[in-house]
Amino acid sequence: MKMPSPLPVVASAFILLLAAVAASALPAARAARVDVIQALRAE
């Protein structure tokens, strides 16, 4: 059996990374929009 081509493996890694970054966007946007006064008052 010969070694498979690296292209599918690299492409898969890239797709996963992209998907994870996209998944992080929503929580990241929430973090950036935190209301300072509300956050400190909650304590």
Partner: protein, 781 residues
């Protein structure tokens, strides 16, 4: 752990009430687990049904398949000749019974539409050895052996139920069985075989040897190199498979040393024996085990995802758990509470998974039937329930021990003083670990599916050296009943002439084999040519042989590189001529013009198949046609003209500039008007034939692609969930940072970086796992 049933029942009631207050979480967890458990239960049922389920043959663990192979010339199964069978049967004592089976094609007339059928010519002991029973009538037995026996036919269950609609009146009917130019015999239908796995070939009928004139000929009986027969055996009562293998090797070695000229050194001939069930399932084993591994990965992803959800829930419940701990609840009691909850969730997930597994089994069985016909008669049984229950228990126990429990020994005591959600370092690490596990498992599935997809695209994009789109191929097998050889050729010439006159037809020709479909005609012969000198120890090269009519290359748009096509002057009484493929020209006449040179057959088998070693003049060179592999490779092929070397297969090729399928009816009517009993079947364009060959690869890509997409979706949701939970727990931190001057974009970049790092770590872990798995595959294969 204190495990009184009454207490646990109480825990279950409390868990149910608690989950009713968190319906969203409960539904998400149940659905995720249902997916993971359902997929595994379905695939386990498939694996068990195809690989592990006993055959219907009685005492099947004593039943073996004996194979002769020649790896030196790339032949995995050379079959046996009659003299070889006799030597083995007389020499091997650890096998008490032998049965033989030869796959042949007949044109069958007298049972509905005339048709070409795949048949097994079997000896009288075959069904005894296979321990199979009839559902109607009787099976072929020793009384049906011998050249003076009457011809008898047994129908397979699949053929009888599908083509003949289980007609109970089929017994006693007589059919005409044509073996092409070899002649025609009749056979009486004596029985219908019980449903069983068709092996070694998926045949419509089985007949005794007397129905095949070729099997009764001296060439078949005496020719040691004329190999057509497959051999089965039953181990003697006290014999083991290892003993039989050793004895077979000894007898085989003695046979080879007594007949050295019939076993070339290059071929490196070997003999082996395998249990029949292993032999039958070998084609599907790899794909099913890979499918099982893929579903296992989906289960890991599902459980990891659920573990994160449970972990997040337990962090939010820390207050409740802390109060209970402060009031005296032991760690064991709290753990029992969590176990009750996870059992409820996993039990519900397992139930839903097992219910959804049934339709999944039906879909997967149709997919797996491409690799093993055993998948078609799968039955769903209680094993699926046990698999579901087992997986649910594993998941429940795992999930019960995932959350960290509050204790007085921690630095903040029971943590009762803390107000908001508080994620400890340990909990944070577990959340990230589960997210990375999902990413790693998804990477394995995605990488595997991508490799399959790339292979499929490579195969689809590979173009053969012929026009596959506009060529209609039709099976018009040779029917020699009442015809002399010249009348058979005249029939095909007249067919070509008449079909050429149909509207839309550009070119018509006849050949032996439809590319990629008629692989049963792929035999090779040794040959030599003018000026060809063999190296020391080198044997004559082997080539594919095809018989074609004039106009074959024009009909398939195969480029003629040099010389000419066959024409009407290349007849039986004229000088023998051939056309060769480019690879033959390069191999035999490197740097020289091959035209008008000669080549001749040197293979010892030619005397058994009506071919002569007469030198044949090369009149043309054509581009290679690899009609065996979808991705074409250099192929040695020698073409004989139909008039000089009779047709074996009988396949019509019609090149058209209109819709090829619109020609099927007029072609059928035209041929039937010439011969009412002529079978005409399997009309398809060469492109569709090629696409059909690619179907298993297409299905593989679809199934594994589906797994990969589901895994990707769950993993992405997992990462988003972990980060969302982390952000909600760090609201105060973000508020302070913003208050002291940090830019919102920096916070945004920080969270995205966290997600990317988690994904990168998961991908790295997945890559390590993939390289380890690849090494295991290499060792295994």
């Amino acid at each position: 752990m204190n495990f009184k049933p009454a207490l646990f029942l109480n825990d279950l009631k409390i868990a149910l009430r608690s989950l009713m207050r968190a319906k969203g979480l409960a539904i998400t967890v149940i659905l995720t687990l249902a997916l993971g458990i359902g997929a595994n239960a379905a695939i386990f049922t498939l694996v068990r049904g195809v690989l592990l389920r006993p055959l219907v043959n009685r005492d099947e663990d004593r039943l073996i398949y004996i194979r002769q192979r020649a790896p030196g010339i790339g032949t995995e199964n050379t079959y046996f000749s009659v003299p070889e069978l006799k030597d083995i049967e007389s020499g091997v004592k650890t096998i008490s019974e032998f049965g033989d089976f030869s796959t042949i094609s007949f044109t069958m007339v007298g049972l509905g539409e005339p048709r070409e059928v795949q048949a097994g010519a079997v000896g009288g002991t075959y069904f005894d050895v296979m321990r199979l029973h009839p559902v109607l009538g009787r099976l072929i037995g020793p009384q049906d052996d011998g050249p003076k026996a009457a011809g008898v036919v047994v129908l397979t269950y699949r053929f009888w139920s599908s083509a003949l609609h289980s007609d109970p009146n089929v017994l006693g009917k007589t059919v005409r069985l044509g073996s092409g130019v070899m002649g025609t015999r009749s056979g009486t239908i004596i029985g219908v075989l019980e449903p069983s796995i068709p092996y070694p070939a998926d045949t419509e009928i089985m007949a005794n040897v007397v129905t095949s004139p070729h099997h009764l000929s001296a060439t078949m009986i005496e020719g040691r190199v004329h190999r057509m027969t497959e051999l089965f055996g039953r181990l003697a009562p006290d014999a083991t498979l290892e003993q039989t293998r050793a004895e077979l090797r000894t007898v085989y070695s003695s046979m080879m040393s007594q007949n050295p000229k019939d076993y070339s050194k290059q071929a490196d001939s070997q003999i082996s024996a395998t249990r029949l069930r292993e032999q039958i399932t070998s084609g599907a084993r790899t794909i099913l085990l890979v499918l099982l591994a893929a579903s296992g990965l989906v289960f890991v992803i599902a459980v990891s995802n659920v573990a994160n959800l449970i972990l997040a829930r337990s962090v939010r419940r820390e207050g409740e758990l802390s109060i209970r701990a402060a009031l005296g609840a032991s760690t064991a009691t709290l753990r029992r509470t969590l176990l009750a909850e996870s059992l409820l969730l996993c039990g519900a997930g397992a139930l839903l998974g097992v219910l959804s597994a049934r339709p999944m089994v039906a879909v997967l069985a149709r997919y797996a039937s491409r690799f093993s016909i055993r998948a078609l008669d799968l039955t769903v049984d209680s094993s699926m329930l046990w698999v579901g229950a087992g997986l649910a228990m594993i998941a429940a126990i795992l999930l019960a021990f995932v959350p960290r429990l509050p204790s007085a020994g921690s630095s903040q005591g029971f943590g009762l003083a803390a107000g908001s959600v508080r994620i400890t370092g340990g909990t944070n690490r577990r959340l990230r670990l589960f997210a990375m596990t999902q990413i790693a498992a998804s990477f394995l599935l995605l990488a595997g599916a991508s490799m399959l997809l790339k292979t499929l695209l490579d195969m689809q994009n590979a173009r053969p050296n012929l026009d596959a789109n506009r060529v209609l191929a039709v099976n018009v097998p040779v029917d020699s009943y009442g015809k002399k050889p010249e009348e058979i050729n005249h029939f095909y010439e007249e067919t070509i002439r008449r079909v050429s006159g149909l509207p839309g037809v550009d070119a018509v020709a006849v050949g032996d084999a439809v590319p990629w479909r008629d692989t049963q005609f792929n035999f090779q012969l040794q040959f030599s040519g003018d000026g060809h000198v063999k190296g020391p120890g080198e044997e004559d090269p082997r080539t594919q042989v095809r018989t074609v009519s004039p106009g074959f290359f024009a009909a398939l748009h195969v480029p003629i590189v040099e010389g000419r096509d066959f024409n009407d002057l290349d007849r039986q009484d004229k000088e023998p001529v051939v056309v060769i493929s480019q690879s033959v020209a390069q191999r035999m006449f490197p740097g020289r013009d091959p035209l008008n040179r000669h080549l001749w057959w040197t293979d010892p088998v030619i005397k058994f198949i009506g071919m002569e070693p007469t030198p044949r003049r090369i009149v043309g060179v054509v581009a290679d046609i690899d009609d065996t592999h979808v991705i074409p490779a250099p192929t040695l092929t020698v073409y004989d003209p139909m008039e000089q070397q009779g047709l074996f297969g009988g396949r019509l090729f019609v090149h058209t500039h209109s819709n090829p399928y619109a020609l099927v009816t007029p072609i059928t009517q035209l041929i039937r008007s010439m011969s009412a009993d002529q079978p005409i079947e399997k009309a398809a364009t060469l492109e569709d034939v090629r696409a059909e060959v690619l179907t298993p690869d297409r299905l593989n890509s679809l199934v594994f692609g589906g797994f990969a997409l589901v895994a990707l979706a769950i993993a992405v949701v997992g990462v988003a969930g972990v980060l969302a939970f982390s952000v909600s727990a760090r609201t105060r931190e973000f508020g302070i940072r913003l208050a002291i001057g940090s830019q919102p974009s920096r916070l945004l970049a920080g969270v995205i970086r966290e997600g990317a790092v988690m994904a990168a770590a998961g991908i790295a872990a997945g890559a390590v796992g993939a390289s380890r798995a690849w090494r295991v595959v290499i060792c295994w294969t």
